[in-house]
Subunit: 345 residues, 4 copies
């Protein structure tokens, strides 16, 4: 069975494992108050060229999203997101669990636009309506598209105009930054939003994300919030150690080469399938692609490959999701292409 | 200044006030554990011809909605509602404040359809998504339309098919039951849904709603829930006393004659404005109407009449909301019609 | 049956009812945005001689406590209260329902002391513990005792030293202010705390409390919070109208004469029972007293009088609670004393 | 610097690291739906000789406590715990963050007694008070003491009598089970409580706990609850793999030998310090001890050893906490004893 199921089906990049093994017997203080976390935070600051920001080593993506939202909002304030956004679509109402509404908008190719923010404000009235305060987006989006520099700048401006916070879920940020269409650097991103995270789980870590808070008001007693939201890891250094390994070398680190590799494998799949005349759901630019295939083909493929059916069958066709990762090999891709060519012919 | 602002701009119907004055010096136990509340509950049971249901005297509509939702749902379960539903649109995120998502659907003439419930389920996947469990509708809707017997029956069936609870916000239930298009009796309603309330605040009470819970599972420790949600009135009998006065005589009570009067006043406005060629937003069948008028006309009207602008100006036109109530007089209506005739000519 | 059950067993003082009847047919805007609420708020400001504070007309005491706490605290901040405090003991965990802990201390004669606040801080450590931020007390306390000016000043100082907010639940504030032992004026109180409320429900209103917020930071978007906590009354003016009637004449208003009368009736009971050698639980100074009586006597009394048994029987004795109110008559008291004299002899 | 700071200052036992490295390149499904988690769950079931229970691989102890509480309770139900209990004392109000009160009792040598549960019920009244439903204890307690079989049985019986759930926080369960005073097997424990967890973080895992739910009603949609509480790890298998390594061999596994070693090191410290005449805070029976030392001695010790001061100085003495773990060596202990002998002489 070959996996295109997700970018978290394997363990960690060998360099990450090595770092964990190498530091295993060190004694350090707990809960992220150790030198590895401190060092990794400085590496993140160096990477984005901003040494005033706050960096927290977090266990996972949902804890990043939910803790930041709960820390940033007053009870009567709400989040704006596309309906397909991860925090709305795949986190079991964890945000609402902290008492905050997510106001949903139909995404435009997976993306939120400044007009959608205006629409959220048109729905706002007075003390009878929650106040839209927190703009949640992902880079790349849940369907693999990316915000261009112009789009991100426009969103940033619109948020500022409404006194809103702009938050970027970077579960797959590496893939956005290294995809061929990207024109937005991580340094630029860090000037346009109020907080974002650099995802480790989906890019070669065992687990862990580096949450970057650029807006001081969102960072008030943030560690209290992490603990209250059950996300403070006792052996917090594990995340620091992993990010030290992931980010060593900055833009030349394995963090970026792994993401780049994942993008290349996805591009190979995308280009080859396109040549075969396969249509796609959405126009992903990164490591997730959504070919739409005849049901019979999908069922055959499932014998040898493991992936998600992305939506129910419609007119005899099923959109599937193929995800590539640092561990995806050219052999995996070629095996898939060989099989599908046979099935489609 | 003549008020078409809301159906809660005056105090109570004189018979309600008389009942409060008459019982004022009685001593009773607090928190709704008195004979007036008990008696009013029996009157409600008689009215709907069901003596197994649970009736709670509640302070207001938002407490009814929020307490029932919080009492009925597990943390991972969600509410389905049209986006214009009161619990979503005008309650400042109180439902999310109890930890539950409201999944919104664009209403069809203000109404939720069985297809929308199916759509909510299509968005459901597994442990990564909240489970749609509670269907929230209003009868009449926020824009004055009503569910026919066939529509309500179809919704009820669909909810049962999905093991969902059907809840009917009856803030203006009297107006639904007495409007000329209605074919659904309160007894029938009580067999089709799991809970609903008979609104007092917007139909001649000082305040108070009679919440009817037909599904035993939703009633478990309900008084604990009312208290925890801050809604247990110390002098709870005040609501009982009011409902005794409102419902005396059953279908011939002032509860229904007041609602009927409000509908008639709205119909008079609607018919006359239609004759004048005024277009409407939505197709209200009850005591709220939404004529769309030139901005200049609206601004002139606002000198003598008090009402809401319902949405921002578009192409020089503004939809306004006119609400009639038990206290609206034919003189009020005629004054409005005289003025608008002048303005439009 | 004669009631010493509570101070909310009757309706409202006749002047309050008259005001409601007199204004009944007025049309006003809803949700407390009317002239009666505005006027009542100014009367409160005049009374406490502070025109910069914020006054909100609230439906009840629990909504005052819970909304103020939820509006004032960040998620990781907690409340400190005596274990017998109403917000802990009699509100079904409504405070915790908003996500905040109440740190409890055994009261000293029902009261919180500066030492207890220090103790709450001794239990505080770092990001693993919630931060004590909100000091909740009642004046008078749940067992009828009052804070002297010196005690309230010491608490206020201690709160300031810890950067905590001091909140005073004034459900029975009238009785504290008018009792013979009191040396703390309402004007002084308003300089010592950050927020308090003037209770109407338990002192002659149908319902309603005037919440006074002296600390601007606690008032941010407070009306949004009231709505989100389900406490914004549609016909909000009802509370304004009642407080206009209650407070007319300031310190000479019925608000104070009613409370004073309740205290006198309680004093008459207390003094007479003391003469009879009856011991008391606590040393109440206001309108609630807690005589401890032989079980057999209690059971006999319950045939003619309605009151709470305050705690379970111990050694053949039961402490009961007798509450007097504006509507308690000298006849009621004398009837009780006559009966108990017989029973004890 | 030698660490007696905590039992989570190092990484994992080498066998755990080996298992992670060995399985690193496997592809598996995410979120704990893999064969390692399944296998580890069966190993847990074998260990406790109960194959009907539910086992969840959790990220940490706070997620175990909070998710189980949130999953088990209705909004108006509360938790009973000693004030020093971890869920109250060291989790930043995370439980209250889910809306539930923790009713605190002063512990008896760190333990909850049946009498304390009765006391919680004495404070219960009716719809104005939350219902005590969930009994939270730790084995061993926060101060290292353990419940004997008789004590645990009595608690279990008392909980059943009150229809309450008994939950055992087993962050250090290994140390309880292997300490010399213990007479309660894990199989017996599993028949006396409704849920408990086998802690990995503090006994040789990188992170992770195996939560065992014995009472079906608490397990309803539990995975939805884990996700909603932000605790569902993408690479969930990491916890399964670790528990496979920890529990291989059952009662002869490294899980128990590590705990036993930690206890021995603590016993060596305890016995030697006792010989030196050092008094202790509490009477720990497991791997945490609390000697009370002169302030000057403590300050000297802090130059070479890393540990917590457990409480503020009083009368020139400070209680400190010394924690031993699987990685504590006899050399560490002897170094400490040598130093303190010098300082005390």
């Amino acid at each position: 069975m070959i996996y295109f199921r997700s970018d978290y089906s394997q363990g960690a990049h060998p360099k990450v494992m090595d770092a964990l093994v190498k530091t295993n017997f060190e004694h350090t203080d707990g809960y992220g108050l150790d030198e590895h976390c401190e060092h990794a935070a400085r590496m993140v600051q160096d990477l984005i060229d901003n040494h005033d920001c706050h960096v927290h080593m977090m266990v996972g993506g949902t804890p990043c999203n939910v803790t930041t939202i709960a820390a940033s909002l007053k009870p009567y304030e709400s989040v704006v997101s596309v309906r397909g956004g991860h925090a709305y679509f795949h986190e079991t109402g964890a945000v609402e669990g902290t008492g905050h509404r997510i106001v949903t908008m139909e995404g435009a190719n997976g993306k939120l636009t400044p007009e959608m923010i205006d629409q959220a404000w048109e729905e706002y009235e007075d003390e009878h309506t929650p106040i839209p305060k927190f703009c949640y987006i992902s880079q790349p989006t849940e369907i693999g598209t990316i915000y261009s520099k112009a789009e991100m700048t426009a969103l940033s401006k619109k948020c500022k105009a409404h006194n809103m916070l702009l938050y970027v879920d970077g579960a797959r940020l590496g893939c956005a930054l290294t995809c061929r269409d990207n024109d937005l650097t991580i340094q630029e991103l860090a000037t346009l939003c109020d907080a974002f995270y650099i995802g480790g789980t989906k890019n070669g870590a065992l687990f862990g994300e580096a949450l970057v808070i650029l807006n001081d008001t969102m960072n008030d007693h943030f560690r209290w919030m992490i603990k209250r939201q059950c996300g403070l890891l006792a052996k917090g250094r594990l995340i620091g150690v992993q990010f030290e390994a992931l980010l060593e070398g900055g833009m030349d680190s394995i963090y970026f080469s792994m993401a780049s590799h994942a993008n290349e494998m996805a591009a190979l799949l995308r280009d080859s399938l396109t040549e075969l005349g396969v249509p796609f759901f959405g126009s992903s630019q990164t490591n997730q692609i959504f070919p739409v295939l005849p049901t019979a083909v999908v069922k055959e493929l499932e014998k040898d490959f493991f992936f998600y059916e992305w939506a129910p069958e419609k007119n005899g066709m099923i959109p599937i999701r193929l995800v590539t990762a640092w561990g995806t090999t050219k052999d995996d891709v070629e095996a898939f292409l060989r099989t599908i060519k046979k099935l489609l012919s």
